[in-house]
């Protein structure tokens, strides 16, 4: 149990600063992660929102993909929001031809599943394990989880275009992912949950 865990935010692209701000407020020691050698110092990693194709290309270019896979396979906790959810998915639907993910969570994620920006939305989502009100979730050209393996716990769903429930929050051991962006809302409950996961693992 570490009193003050070191949590990195993958800083290749996207809303890195917003995650750093929330994690700082939760008294984590934070690191902007740009190179593989920084990974060794981390107790946990956040993969932010952004454009997943850009993030994937840059991860390959800077030799981060394999080291990230190794750390996550070795049990480092990680939390991905939106593009970050895509990066943590074992299987990707609707990506570009050469798009690679880090993987880790046994799930199939469909990129831009909720549509383009004019279809982006806010909705109140009930998240298992969070006390209090439903989470006020912001979805931006968001992915959803199309299917999960047996080891994955579904934490929340919202109605999709056809009103069928779509999975938007999952957990598999120390790995968490949401289709939406808690870092944009000021509600720190999900980040707090992740920080607790990190403290429990280290």
């Amino acid at each position: 149990m570490t009193a003050r865990p070191t949590i990195g935010v993958l800083a290749l692209q996207g809303d890195v600063a917003e995650h750093l701000r929330v994690l700082d407020a939760l008294d984590a020691h934070t690191v902007k992660v740009l190179s593989p050698d920084q990974l060794d110092t981390l107790d946990g990693l956040v993969v932010p929102g952004g454009e997943s194709t850009t993030m994937s290309k840059l991860a390959v270019r800077y030799g981060l993909l394999e080291p990230l896979r190794k750390r996550i396979a070795a049990g480092m906790p990680a939390y991905g929001t939106c593009a970050g959810m895509i990066m943590l998915a074992d299987r990707l639907l609707g990506g570009t031809a050469d798009q690679q993910t880090v993987g880790g969570i046994d799930m199939s994620v469909r990129r831009n599943a909720f549509g383009r920006q004019t279809e982006s939305f806010e909705a109140a989502v009930r998240i298992d394990g969070l006390e209090g009100d439903p989470f006020d979730a912001v979805f931006i050209r968001a992915p959803w989880v199309e299917s999960v393996g047996p080891g994955v716990t579904v934490l929340g769903e919202v109605p999709g275009p056809d009103e069928a429930g779509r999975i938007v929050a999952v957990r598999q051991g120390g790995l968490m992912a949401t289709s939406f962006h808690p870092e944009l809302t000021g509600d720190t409950r999900i980040h707090r949950l992740f920080v607790d996961v990190v403290k429990g693992h280290s």
Binding site: G14, L34, E51, R61, G115, R116, A123, I140, R141
Partner: protein, 303 residues
């Protein structure tokens, strides 16, 4: 998509958080001007975070003259169909019908741009009335805050588009950043005076004074032609950059696009900027601003 997510009972589309949130996702990424689906693919492959679909890049608008308008919907559709990253497109200042058209085409972001010929000499578009988010140009803080008050979800420094000359972008970034810093030193009574000077609503002025930054992302545009230009804008406080004519008017567009993406990310690392600057071939030729008359300058458009 008659029955999409936006139509489900509890979901709210086009909110301030959804629009500004989209802008936040583009940070640290490069937005590139493209005029064909092939260029859009090159940009996407190079790691662009979004493309700006337009009929002519600013350098050609300058050369050709005449009235510059929203692009042909067929051309926008072609680019939307070619890539999976977000697509932006430009409308004339004040031309809310062009904006309605682009929104109906499903573009992800609209640039109400001084690069096109203005359609209204008094008013910008009421951007709150739209579901799609808008980015607007600014040369100083007052202009930025008026655009935010009208609903802009992102601000970009105007620079001087189509020149390949970064001097105006530098001027505008320095101006915006130094005015933000100044606001932080003022007390409440002085902020009322500042709002009056800036010709911007007091609430937005106060918010900026408290945050020490704009309440929306601040990007830079207008004259960025090299990896070092992009890094300069970032060190001056831009959260990322738009590159217009600089990429596809250069000798090696794919290589230059890739290099600018890397320099934008590693803007504080001169070794990286040096490495990606090697062997890029010719940059766009560029124009000295002294050679432009006031009528040929776009940055003065908008009010």
């Amino acid at each position: 998509m008659a029955n999409n997510a936006s139509n489900t009972s509890d979901n709210a589309v086009g909110t301030e958080r959804v629009k500004r949130g989209m802008a936040e996702q583009l940070k640290n990424g490069v937005i590139m001007d493209v005029v064909t689906p092939e260029q859009a693919k090159i940009a996407e492959d190079a790691g662009a975070v979004a493309v700006m679909a337009l009929e002519r890049v600013p350098a050609d608008i300058r050369k050709d003259g005449g009235v510059a308008r929203m692009s042909d919907p067929d051309m926008i559709d072609g680019i939307v169909g070619a890539v999976s990253i977000p697509v932006m497109a430009k409308v004339r200042i004040g031309h809310f019908v062009e904006a309605q058209v682009l929104e109906s085409l499903g573009v992800d972001f609209i640039d109400e741009s001084e690069v096109l010929t203005p359609a209204d000499e008094a008013y910008h578009i009421d951007k709150w009335a739209f579901t799609v988010p808008f980015v607007c140009g600014a040369t100083n803080l007052g202009e930025a805050l008026r655009r935010i008050a009208e609903g802009a979800a992102m601000i970009r420094s105007k620079g001087e588009a189509g020149t390949g000359n970064v001097v105006e972008a530098t001027r505008h970034m320095r101006s915006i950043r130094s005015e933000i810093k100044r606001l932080g030193t003022l007390d409440e009574a002085e902020l009322f005076g500042a709002a009056k000077e800036l010709r911007a609503p007091f609430e937005v002025v106060k918010e900026v004074a408290t945050l020490g930054k704009l309440p929306v992302p601040l990007f830079s545009a207008g004259g960025v032609a090299t990896p070092a230009d992009a890094a300069l804008m970032r060190q001056l406080g831009a959260e990322s950059v738009f590159v217009g004519s600089g990429i596809f008017k250069s000798g090696d567009p794919a290589g230059r696009a890739d290099a600018i993406v890397q320099a934008t990310l590693h803007y504080e690392d001169p070794a990286v900027i040096a490495r990606v600057s090697r062997g890029l071939g010719d940059a766009m030729v560029g124009i000295n601003l002294d050679d432009l008359s006031d009528a040929q300058r776009y940055a003065g458009r908008g009010w």
